[in-house]
Point group: C2
Chain length 540, copies 2
């Protein structure tokens, strides 16, 4: 027996329609690529999105076509989030930090027909577009005064259309977005989001135990709009009527601080390195922020010292989040339970080092090497697998099928534990894990241990071959500006904090660590460099 309730599809344009009708004057504020701060209300954003939707239809974009962007977080990118998806096309947000060859590769793989780009990338696009097999139309996301020659101009396309437009009917299971993983191993793999998955994710994201977003918030994503849709906030903010602050390309400390203070931002999100930059800037200027309520930190795990520094400096509470492009990205988020009322600062910081607690919608399980389910005891670590309505069921064109289990779960490639309270703690990426004497050593725990030393800026633990133990840990560290440290002192510091057999055989101070396009240390590159050095030493 079917229910007798209205069969309204969950579609993305409904979000902006709601924001325009009930929060029409609530602002979307952007640091434009041309320079000035741009501001308008959701009512205007809807009108312009509709104009752009009509312009795309006039360019011949059809349902299911992939429309690519190479762009920062601005109001025009925001408009495309609705204009492209609202006509049933698929928004492919290309990460401009990929290598040129990879940018061409993903555009070809996605079979993009139109490429819209910020003028930052004009020269790059002029060079790469001819190499792309399917891109026929180039649009500079600017006005005629700032556009390079030989391409269409966003503002001109838009001006040619009126805002009168009814969004077409869309099946909620239709694809809406395409985002490629950074691909540190092998080619990038595409995650194909849908209207239903994104709307459900945006709802879950706004819940009190996730991002806790209301009409009284000002939300500033410091993850770019090509990073898993800026963690979906360009959809969640209008859904609740929050102000949306888009930082353009400038994620440096001074620029971010200026927007937080000027726009009274209450909710921030981004990878740990962003907050280091913000805290450094506030240290240097003695500036104080008063509006921040919550800083969601994800992408890589912050240390306890960094959590404390972010909270002291920015004046809000850190909520660690774990997720991936494949999980839209919300997997787990660290919010307290009633049992944590009254815990002291030290206990709070320790709790906040866990990646977070399971929320309705994302089922979690930990699987051992034999394929059996591991207990939720906070100790048994194994492969983290997830399932839910905003988790990928496959990669685009069926790449990387081995990540999807026969019984319908996604194998994240992370190694983790789950505790009795439902908190997830990552111990490693599966590909980074160090296996020594048949047992796993957590690289994240080693890095956390050495980073608690005041002289240390960053750290990376990698496994190096060992004749007896198979692998042993090597800990590479960079120091804070003006600091010095004896490697043996650092080794002793670590030894006090981890199991004896986990203590690295060597702590090595280096000038820098290789950082990938999403701000993470490239451990594969480190291992290759180390192997090459070892080989060179062997040859001499």
């Amino acid at each position: 027996m079917l229910a007798l309730m209205m069969d309204r599809p969950l579609t993305l344009p409904s979000i902006l329609e709601h924001a325009a009708a009930y929060h029409g004057d609530r602002e979307v504020v952007s640091r434009s690529v041309e320079g000035p701060i741009h501001r308008y209300g959701y009512r205007d954003a809807l009108a312009r999105s509709k104009q752009m939707a009509k312009a795309l239809l006039a360019l011949g974009v059809q349902r299911g076509d992939r429309v690519a962007t190479l762009a920062w977080s601005t109001h025009r990118h925001f408009e495309l989030y609705f204009a492209v998806t609202g006509i049933g096309a698929v928004l492919h947000t290309i990460n401009p930090r990929l290598h040129d060859d990879q940018i061409v590769w993903v555009a070809d793989h996605a079979e993009d027909s139109v490429l819209l780009f910020d003028i930052t990338f004009s020269d790059q696009v002029a060079q790469l577009a001819p190499r792309m097999k399917t891109v026929k139309t180039l649009v500079a996301m600017t006005d005629a005064a700032h556009a390079p020659p030989g391409v269409l101009v966003y503002e001109d396309l838009l001006a040619a259309q009126t805002p009168e437009f009814e969004w077409p009917d869309i099946d909620e299971r239709s694809a809406s977005g395409l985002c490629y993983t950074s691909g540190t191993t092998g080619n990038p793999k595409g995650v194909l989001y849908g209207h239903r998955s994104t709307v459900l994710h945006a709802l879950a994201l706004a819940l009190p135990d996730a991002f806790d977003l209301s009409a009284r918030d000002a939300v500033m994503p410091c993850a770019q709009m090509y990073h898993a849709n800026a963690w979906c906030t360009p959809y969640a903010a209008p859904l609740v009527g929050a102000k949306l602050v888009l930082p353009g390309r400038a994620l440096d400390g001074p620029s971010v601080c200026e927007l937080i203070a000027g726009e009274e931002v209450s909710f921030l999100l981004g990878v740990p390195t962003i907050w280091v930059g913000v805290a450094d800037h506030l240290d240097q200027t003695g500036g104080k922020l008063t509006s921040v309520r919550t800083i969601a930190v994800g992408g890589s795990a912050p240390t306890a010292a960094l959590v404390a520094r972010i909270e002291d400096r920015l004046g809000g509470q850190v909520r660690q989040i774990w997720g991936m492009t494949e999980t839209s990205p919300l997997g787990v988020i660290n919010t307290p339970l009633p049992a944590h009322a009254g815990e002291d600062r030290a206990a709070t910081l320790q709790r906040k080092l866990k990646q977070g607690r399971g929320l309705w919608g994302v089922d979690l399980r930990i699987v051992g090497e034999d394929g059996g389910l591991l207990p939720r005891d906070g100790k048994s670590s194994g492969a983290l697998q997830v399932r839910g309505p905003w988790v990928a069921s496959a990669y685009f064109k069926q790449d990387g099928q081995q990540a999807f289990t026969a019984d319908g779960w996604f194998d994240t490639g992370d190694i983790a534990t789950l505790d009795g309270e439902g908190y997830l703690r990552l111990t490693d990426r599966a590909k980074d894990v160090i296996k020594s004497g048949g047992e796993w050593i957590s690289t994240l725990d080693l890095e956390e241990a050495v980073c608690s030393h005041p002289a240390v800026a960053m750290a990376a633990a990698v496994g190096v071959p060992h004749p007896k133990w198979d692998e042993r840990p090597l800990l590479l560290v960079t120091l804070r500006p003006g600091q010095s440290a004896d490697p043996e002192v650092l080794k002793a510091h670590v030894a006090e904090r981890v199991a004896k057999w986990w203590t690295p055989d060597e702590v090595r101070i280096v000038d820098a660590l290789p950082i990938g396009p999403t701000g993470k240390v490239l451990k594969r590159e480190l291992r290759e460099t180390l192997a090459a050095q070892t080989a060179a030493v062997s040859r001499t």
Copy 2:
């Protein structure tokens, strides 16, 4: 092009599975019908729900079958919310305050096969069940010691099953619940909820700008579980891991206060009369509550004086909600916008008299007598029509089809305005509206005006026939205990607060007003009584 995201259905058992896995010890506390307070965690609730699901299957309940309850808000009713729906059957929650004939009528109309009842209703069921055409199985929701003879016993059925059970696959569009409107005009009409509609509604309900529910809340619905599923909180609370406090049958001031204080309830909901009882009790005892954060008030509109009294006495903030059985029930809810920061108490109270602001998921429109859309100016009042994924698309067995428009909206039968900020204000029920000289007079505004007089307890404005103006308002009022008032003084009090031509020709003090099964004044009955009196006068 279809998205490549997991096609996980939105089903009700997933909510209790989540609560059991991540909030297994979080309590469901009930005032049992037998007397004592009952408490257990979501883990136990899931196990018992599964046992009951198996017991129902053993009784021959099949997919789509209607399973009825005649029961208060307790843990057993909570278990049935999942046990019945989780096997694909439909939970029909009968309102025990209906007349006996209506109870038999709805059981027959729903074609209920099983009736589970609280022992409060043992005699009534013994009398009524033989008159029901389809009910074959009777189950007393108690243990063997308390059960009446000749019926099955809930605890015995449960004890015969183990908790090992996998919920069957369910299409998310399947029916899950059946709730009849109180039917002040004509026969009751059935609203057939579904898994999808209820899950989406529960998610929306928990958002910060709705009920704002987190794992740190203790939620106590003071609307019974047969009233639009206690406003869906038995689903929303486990979805977020909140404690759930179920008051049994006792909604009097002392009983409610005892549970609020003893269980540290943070979130309350119910009709205005509940809070009058609670405030009266606190007045009498001088008691003070410290845990209450929010009191959601709906069902009928509170006066400003009552809002102030509730907030002062209970120590939380009132959020008015408007909704209906047909809207699951969340239609709009009154939460502040950033523009309201810093408003004074008087302005806050005036704002809180509006029913609330539109949320994503419920589209609202105001339609004039000519069928045209009216502006959102806070003045133009017309028929309130709504649309959304948790709004009914038809009544069970296609009764009352005239309430559903050809273009897919539900006509609520309420007369309302929408203002520029998106706040809805009810002016009347369509059937209660007073039309005088071709213009509408708002009965709610007249009642609000006279209730601001300190001597007045309740009021009801009704239209009486008038030779020149077609109708003129008559205002019936009851006085607070120990108070007296001159009707002419009350009339002058109203005259100062409304348009001159709205002022009622007569204010009449009466001993009592007729109250219906959902706590609302029965205006139809009032009009009939007045008409009979007028006819009697004419005859003499």
